[in-house]
Amino acid sequence: MARFRVNGVEQELDIEPDMPLLWALRDELGLKGTKFGCGVAACGACTVQVNGNPVRSCVTPVSAIEGSDVKTIEGLATNVGGITAVQQAWIDHQVPQCGYCQSGMIMAVSALLESNPSPSDADIDGAITNVCRCGTYPRIRRAIKSLTATA
């Protein structure tokens, strides 16, 4: 049995301990907001937060997060149906194109700003290594900057 919390809800799943969190979330719990992009920790599309830290769920076996708090894009905003400042900045700057990478992007950026509210460009480059095949990077940087300026 794998036991952990997802967006505040206790989960108990009869799955193999080596099943990556990504597939537990998507195929067992039906949470489709977390995306599969590469399966080898090389793109960040699957980024979720485990105890507040950004984690690439495609290479994180559920055994490694036993008892942890997992937050996915679906649980990012605490106000029901609402969105966070990061999500609002993404709308304001019209960041997403195909949108497929953006759940992971937003989870990674949210974790960064949580731990470092005014990151430098180097901090941003170091922390946000996610791939966006549509090339939304100029807008991602602008959106992050807009959040740090007001922070």
Partner: protein, 737 residues
């Protein structure tokens, strides 16, 4: 009679006038998709529906893959009909022949330089609709949605709807049409102060025949077109609720993981299926012609079981192919007989007489699309019918493909549309290996089966942008004037004009040789422009330097009869501050090309890192796409196009060894990330000319712009990509001109 109340304006609406279908029934008819769930809402045209609550629904026959089409097309219709944007809803058109994209088919074919196939010529005159039915396309590609469906469909439909609403209001109020005006979804009679909402008028309006050529607005009267309207698909893409094909969910669904012969074209010889069947969750192992599929109750279990199998494929002559053998084959082909592309003047004679001749050979490798959402398709066979859930650039085309593979009638196949996690050409109906597999696998079941490819499958089983070799000779006369241009290249592809240079050169000879390989190829963002613009704009740059001329001025001098090109080139150079105030260690390169009806010039500002790698700091991108419908979308497509082309220039390389692709994942098929993404500065030149596309035209010039800057920094001419394969040394104070 119900049937007489259905009106399809076909004979009166020829191709140029747009694809417009007036529909004036409130009675459901099983032949009309318009009534699928319409209740009592009358449809005015296939593309527009006005409801009694005064909302306008615009039905979009294209796929949203991040290019903003779900916003731009409805803007065009809503603007012409003076609809209140806040009351506009958007729906994806279902994949049925009624929504087929005939206007686009013709425009697309023409823009690619391909004529509408001969057997369709007679049909073309009878109405675009017919072409689409026969060609069976609902395609999103060729940067064409706004240009064709938008200009010829949406705007016409919107304007026709407005005229019908005015007619209805005139009758209702008993006033002349000329006393009525429209705005924000109301018809107003200013003399009496009376107003009627579109919703109130909709059913009356539906009684009038839609005009086939209604009066379109003058651009100065646009209220929506030309404004940066926030995209309607974005909110769902920030809160995780946007659904892609990979997210399809159906009761009882199973998951398939597949291993396909890594050597293209080779067949399966054996597999020890029992090993997989013993594992948890595995339901079945299916042998396909060239692949093995493991079907399980969870994707990861299927994938794990697949990895445990010993799968053998046959060996054929294809196993001998390598990148080197392909290039050698290309070189041989270029020495053989060539087919004519362009012949102007007498290039051979001019080269023979030339004072000096410059020669160069260029190459680019195969490239994979690597759309962010791995390829997938969910198929459910039940009760003699079939449901398909996938994101595609052509729902109608994929419906036809599934029907063909499953040997069913197309009308028994229902497509469920999704957002696309990237397309770039990979999700066109020419590239259906995933769809084919998913269909064949699902045929074994009466529950839905989701076939999902890993990133490795995606990179190793793509339809690749072809590798190309291109040889040039340029000749100067005694006055240092470029008098001859000779270019021999491999593989004429689409668009037909991709290897044509815009510059005025008196003698041109352009020819090509076909050289087939076993590597599947397909359309990759900007198609053949992506290779040829690198060749053309690098070689022009070589010619400029070799004749001691400034590369910007050299180009400009040869654009006297191409004022739009010249204006775009100037706009890019001016905005970038061409060769002015550059920081030490930096240089600029410039490149220009027209593609898909838009002209783009780019200036790249580049330096060489200590590790000898290329660093692109800033890209200035000037665009003339005629008119911008949604300027912010134009900008985001330009940014995206630049990054896509730059990723290829810096890192993109698919190599072949022993007949198979050697790259696996983003670890060895690298992508630009935030840290190496340049600043991008967009300048639009609003020429007011015919609309050009924006999904692709920003991709072609960037590789040459960067390589041309590298030459100034290092004195080394880059004639093969990608740039990651070089270790450059910056030559200090070296100024090439």
């Amino acid at each position: 009679m119900t049937i007489s109340r259905r009106r399809f304006i076909l004979g009166t609406t020829v191709v140029g006038g747009g694809l417009l279908i007036g529909y004036a029934s409130t009675r459901p008819s099983k032949h009309s998709i318009a009534n699928r769930d319409a209740g009592e809402q009358p449809y005015l045209t296939t593309w527009l529906r006005i409801s009694p609550d005064n909302t306008v629904t615009v039905i979009v026959p294209h796929s949203e893959m991040g290019q903003g089409i779900l916003t731009s097309l409805p803007m065009m219709a809503a603007d012409e009909m003076d609809a209140d944007w806040d009351m506009v809803h958007v729906e994806q058109a279902p994949a049925t022949d009624l929504f087929a994209n005939g206007v686009l088919v013709k425009g697309f074919a023409e823009s690619l330089g391909v004529s509408v196939p001969g057997f369709l010529n007679g049909v073309a005159a009878a109405g675009a609709m017919k072409i689409a039915e026969i060609m069976n396309m609902q395609i999103t590609g060729g940067s064409s949605s706004v240009r064709f469906t938008g200009e010829q469909g949406m705007r016409v439909a919107g304007a026709a709807a407005r005229e019908m609403l005015i007619k209805a209001a005139a009758a209702r109020l008993d006033v002349p049409e000329s006393e009525l005006s429209t705005s924000l979804s109301y018809v107003r009679h200013s003399a009496s102060g009376r107003t009627l909402s579109y919703g109130e008028l909709a059913s009356d309006a539906a009684r009038f025949e839609p005009a086939s050529a209604p009066r379109l607005k003058d651009p100065k009267d646009f209220t929506l077109m030309g404004k940066s309207i926030p995209r309607i698909d974005i909110p769902a893409k920030v809160d995780g609720t946007a659904l892609y094909g990979i997210d399809a969910e159906a009761p009882g669904m199973l998951y398939a993981a597949v291993r396909t012969s890594p050597v293209f074209g080779n067949k399966l010889s054996s597999v020890n299926a029992d090993v997989a069947l013993q594992r948890r969750g595995v339901v079945k192992v299916i042998e396909l012609d060239n692949a093995v599929a493991v079907v399980a109750d969870n994707y990861w279990r299927a994938k794990q079981a697949l990895a445990a199998l010993d799968i053998r494929f046959e060996e054929t002559a294809n196993n001998q192919v390598t990148t080197q053998s392909i290039y050698a084959q290309y070189d041989d082909a270029l020495l053989g007989e060539l087919s004519k592309d362009v012949e102007e003047g007498d290039a051979a004679a001019a080269l023979a007489d030339a004072q000096s001749v410059v020669e160069a050979t260029y190459r680019v490798p195969y490239l994979a699309h690597a759309a962010m959402e791995p390829m997938n398709c969910t198929v459910h066979f039940h009760d003699g019918k079939c449901d398909v859930w996938t994101g595609t650039q052509d729902n109608l085309g994929i419906r036809g493909r599934v029907a063909k593979i499953a040997e069913m009638d197309e009308n028994d196949v229902t497509m469920h549309a999704f957002y696309l996690g990237g397309g770039f050409g990979r999700r066109l109906p020419t590239d259906t290996n995933t769809i084919d597999q998913a269909t064949l696998i699902a045929k074994h079941f009466d529950v839905p089966v989701k076939t999902l490819w890993s990133r490795e499958d995606d990179i190793q089983q793509d339809y690749y942008r072809p590798a190309v070799t291109s040889k040039f000779r340029g000749g100067f006369d005694a006055n240092n004037q470029l008098i001859a241009w000779e270019n021999h290249y491999i593989g004429k592809n689409e668009p037909a004009e991709a290897a044509h240079t815009p510059y005025a050169i008196p003698n041109k000879h352009i020819a090509y040789a076909e050289s087939e390989t076993h590597v599947p190829f397909g359309a990759w963002r900007s198609v053949a422009h992506s290779q040829h613009t690198f060749f053309l704009e690098s070689f022009v740059d070589e010619l400029a330097h070799r004749s001691g001329q400034n590369p910007y001025q050299f180009r400009l001098n040869m654009l006297a009869d191409k004022p739009r090109h010249a204006a775009v080139l100037k706009a890019a150079a001016e905005r970038a501050g061409w060769e002015r105030n550059l920081a030490p260690g930096r240089a600029q390169g410039i490149a220009l090309q027209e593609s898909f009806g838009s002209i783009v010039a780019q200036v790249a500002e580049v330096s060489i890192t200590e590790a000898g790698q290329v660093r692109v700091h800033r890209v200035t991108c000037a665009i003339d796409c005629g008119r911008s419908i949604n300027p912010d979308t134009v900008a985001s497509q330009a940014e995206s196009g630049v990054i896509f082309g730059l990723t290829a220039a810096l890192y993109g390389e698919i190599t072949i060894d022993q007949g198979r692709v050697m790259q696996n994942n983003f670890t060895d098929y690298e992508m630009i990330t935030l840290q190496d993404a340049p600043e991008i500065d967009i300048v639009t030149v609003e020429s007011g000319e015919a609309l050009g596309g924006m999904g692709e035209p920003a991709t072609p010039p960037i590789a040459a712009a960067v390589a041309n800057a590298v030459y100034i920094l290092t004195g080394q001419r880059v004639r093969e990509l990608p740039l990651k394969n070089y270790r450059f040394t910056a030559v200090p104070n070296e100024s090439a001109v």
